[in-house]
């Protein structure tokens, strides 16, 4: 804990001592993202990083009154490069590393020697296995797992009594993983998946959707809702309004369950949205939110414990006193058995918030938030015991 002159003066002025320097590393591993049919939704270059920068400003403002000085050091790894050196540089610079990486790279980073004694935050990978059999004690997750998102939608289906559903799944591994999580959620909440079809078209659906999609969905017969598993947002948008039967579409398109979205404006969220937009010139996305939550959680822990080492922060974050005001209507905490940030999951369409899971009536002995995702009795994670 270095004392800087400005920090010291500030702390005397504010009646606090001692001054603290806190450095957090941002580690971003580029992903191989195939092209999509539509050009409407470019992936921002600063996805995730913009969330960290918003949280940095929040922490700095609070830190002013407490004699804390906050810095973020960014490390980026290009496609095809070994993430090892950048990760080691991040570990050398900071006790806390927020990582936006595909699951495989994330695991290899968390297993490096340099990662021992550090605290890593996963803000970019939704794979449930990272929170389950592949979990690691030094890795917390602020991005909700895919299972939390599909559980949120399943609760909505139950609530609406749309209990006979069909699914169209894309061929990308991400689509298949989403479909698998959805099948698990449907079983968990007692819903019936009466048919599943794989999307195998390679025509340009911008021209053909009106001809192809009705035929493709005709043999589904009668059902209550159609689930789309298209995490790349490639073909799903062309399913809407083109199905043979007039039915709602949910999943990766239509009604979506995400950590965050532009339509989240209740619970003071409009303030975070406008701070973010003003600083970065675009809307805040789920990975931005997860990165923001990671740095804010560190900020909260440092402020409350007055310590800035990984061990103290980790035990505070996983303990009973931590709570993060995450603009989702109730305090956010970490699950002690796998390091996942507990959080409500907004159910959104592009223009409005439809509901917020957990939905009323889904009860749990600890907190209703644990009706979403992998619960303690079913976890295969043992690293947190």
């Amino acid at each position: 804990m270095k004392k800087t002159i400005t920090g010291l003066m500030l702390s005397l002025w504010a009646g606090f001592a001692p001054a603290q320097d806190v450095t957090v590393a941002w580690l971003e591993i580029a992903r191989d993202v195939p092209p999509t049919l539509s050009n409407l939704d470019p992936i921002p270059d600063d996805l995730g990083h913009a969330g960290v920068m918003t949280a940095l400003a929040d922490n700095q403002t609070t830190g002013r009154f407490l004699g804390q000085a906050w810095q973020v050091e960014a490390h980026r790894v290009a496609l095809g490069e070994d993430p090892g050196p950048a990760a080691e540089a991040a570990f050398a610079a900071a006790d806390f590393v927020i990582v936006d990486a595909p699951a495989e790279a994330l695991l290899s980073i968390a297993a490096l020697d340099g990662a021992a004694g550090k605290l890593l935050y996963n803000s970019g990978a939704g794979e449930p296995a990272l929170r389950d059999d592949l979990c690691r004690a030094n890795l917390l997750h602020t991005l909700p797992s895919t299972a939390m998102r599909t559980d949120a939608l399943a609760q909505f289906l139950v609530r609406k009594r749309w209990d006979d559903v069909v699914m169209v799944a894309g061929g990308h591994p991400g689509d298949q993983a989403y479909a698998a999580a959805m099948e698990r959620s449907l079983a968990k909440f007692g819903l019936r998946l009466s048919a599943r079809k794989e999307w195998r078209f390679d025509a340009d659906m911008r021209r053909n959707a009106a001809q192809e999609v009705p035929l493709f969905t005709q043999d589904f017969g009668q059902y209550d809702a159609l689930i789309v598993a298209d995490e790349l947002h490639d073909f799903g948008r062309y399913i809407l309004f083109n199905t043979w039967e007039a039915r709602p579409v949910i999943g990766s398109e239509g009604l979506q369950a995400e950590a965050w979205g532009p339509a989240v404006e209740q619970w003071g969220a409009a303030q975070l949205q406008s701070r973010f937009e003003e600083a970065h010139g675009r809307r805040m996305q789920p990975r931005d939110y997860a990165a923001w939550a990671a740095l804010r959680a560190i900020g909260e822990a440092v402020t409350r414990t007055k310590a800035a080492d990984a061990a103290t922060v980790r035990s505070y974050l996983l303990g009973p006193d931590f709570e993060l005001a995450g603009f989702k209507g109730r305090p956010l905490t970490f699950r002690g058995w796998n390091g996942q940030l507990r959080q409500p999951i907004p159910l959104l369409h592009p223009r409005a918030l439809v509901a917020s899971a957990p939905l009323e009536g889904f009860l749990h002995q600890r907190t209703e938030l644990d009706t979403l995702g992998i619960d303690a009795p079913e976890t295969r994670c043992t690293a947190f015991d």
């Binding site: 009646g15 609070t62 009154f65 003071g268 709570e323 109730r330």
Partner: protein, 324 residues
């Protein structure tokens, strides 16, 4: 009887004036850009005034001759003649004024600028900004001590009460509270400061002389998960013996004994209860319920809700006005 009320309403809405049947509660409707005026004797809305965009904090001058309204999205504080309902003029307020407090000198408004992390001090006579003080992220709760020497701003994301010396207009202390502080009040002749924390679910009580924490008040409503018990606005009964505390989405108001700091009662009200005010003798309290769009009237003696009054969309603040 019905005819008289209808006539009153007609006169009121046609802008010809209003039959002053009794004292009034003024309610700002955040999502309607209006103020609903409730007659305390009839417990009915007798007037609806158009104001600036997204009205939230409202307060009267000490002699009730003018009403101040934070028109948050118009980035201004409007000064309104309560008789005619006309906007007399606007005060510079800094961006996005959310909540404010009138200094005991009846002249200076201390305004929380939610989007700018600033507290703005405005002179209502010269209509000029006299100071801007940097505070934490999302300032909201505002209070000033009865002797006028200390002003408080609470910041929702920084989770602090910022103590402002009103003579130098600068901070002299910053004290941490639980998550998302929303409202602050000086009580017991300014010896204690109470700060509610919405997400933390507590009220922190400070000793004003030392700025040290005396205690924390917790809340627990039967059948409601603790996460949903979110203290927001609160007001004191006569003699500061009890606090009535709005508990947000738990849809309850807590009655707290201010001497023992124990919660004595929970009263069911409308949805997402936010702020409140009392009538003249403090025998009735009027709570604003944002989600249900109504005001619950609670009888203080029996601690029972006696009526719900429909107002505009998202009622936010409430302010008492005597008419005689």
């Amino acid at each position: 009887m019905i005819r008289i009320t209808a006539l009153t309403l007609l006169l009121a809405t046609s802008g010809l004036g209003h039959g002053a049947l009794g004292d009034e509660i003024w309610v700002s409707n955040e999502k309607d850009d209006t103020i609903s005026v409730i007659d305390i004797e009839t417990l009915e809305v007798v007037r609806t005034l158009d104001v600036g965009e997204r009205p939230r904090g409202i307060t009267f001058s000490k002699d009730y001759s003018v009403l101040y309204v934070c028109a948050s999205d118009s980035d201004t504080v409007q000064v309104i003649d309560p008789e005619s309902g006309r906007v007399l003029h606007e005060l510079p307020s800094g961006e996005d004024p959310e909540q404010f407090v009138l200094h005991p000198d009846d002249r200076h408004l201390y305004i929380a600028n939610e989007d700018d992390a600033i507290t703005t001090v405005v002179d209502t006579e010269t209509r000029r900004v006299v100071a801007q003080i940097d505070v934490g992220i999302e300032p909201e709760g505002m209070a000033v001590s009865p002797d006028g020497k200390i002003a408080i701003t609470t910041s929702e994301t920084t989770n602090m009460a910022h103590w402002i010396d009103t003579e130098s207009q600068s901070l002299f202390a910053n004290t941490l509270v639980d998550s998302r502080p929303r409202h602050a009040e000086f009580i017991k002749e300014g010896t204690e400061l109470w700060v509610s924390s919405e997400i933390g679910g507590t009220i922190t009580v400070f000793d004003v002389a030392t700025q040290a924490e005396i205690t924390k008040i917790d809340f627990a409503v039967d059948g409601v998960h603790p996460d949903r018990v979110q203290p927001v606005g609160f007001e004191m009964t006569k003699g500061d013996t009890h606090a009535y505390v709005a508990l947000g989405p738990s849809n309850h108001v807590a009655v707290v004994n201010a001497d023992t700091y124990e919660v004595e009662d929970y009263i069911l009200v409308g949805r997402r209860v936010w702020h409140m005010d009392f009538n003249a003798d403090r025998s009735l309290v009027f709570t604003t319920n944002g989600v249900s769009g109504d005001v619950t009237v609670i009888d203080v003696a029996s601690r029972k809700p006696i009526k719900s009054i429909k107002v505009g969309r998202f009622p936010w603040g409430a302010a008492f006005r005597p008419t005689s």
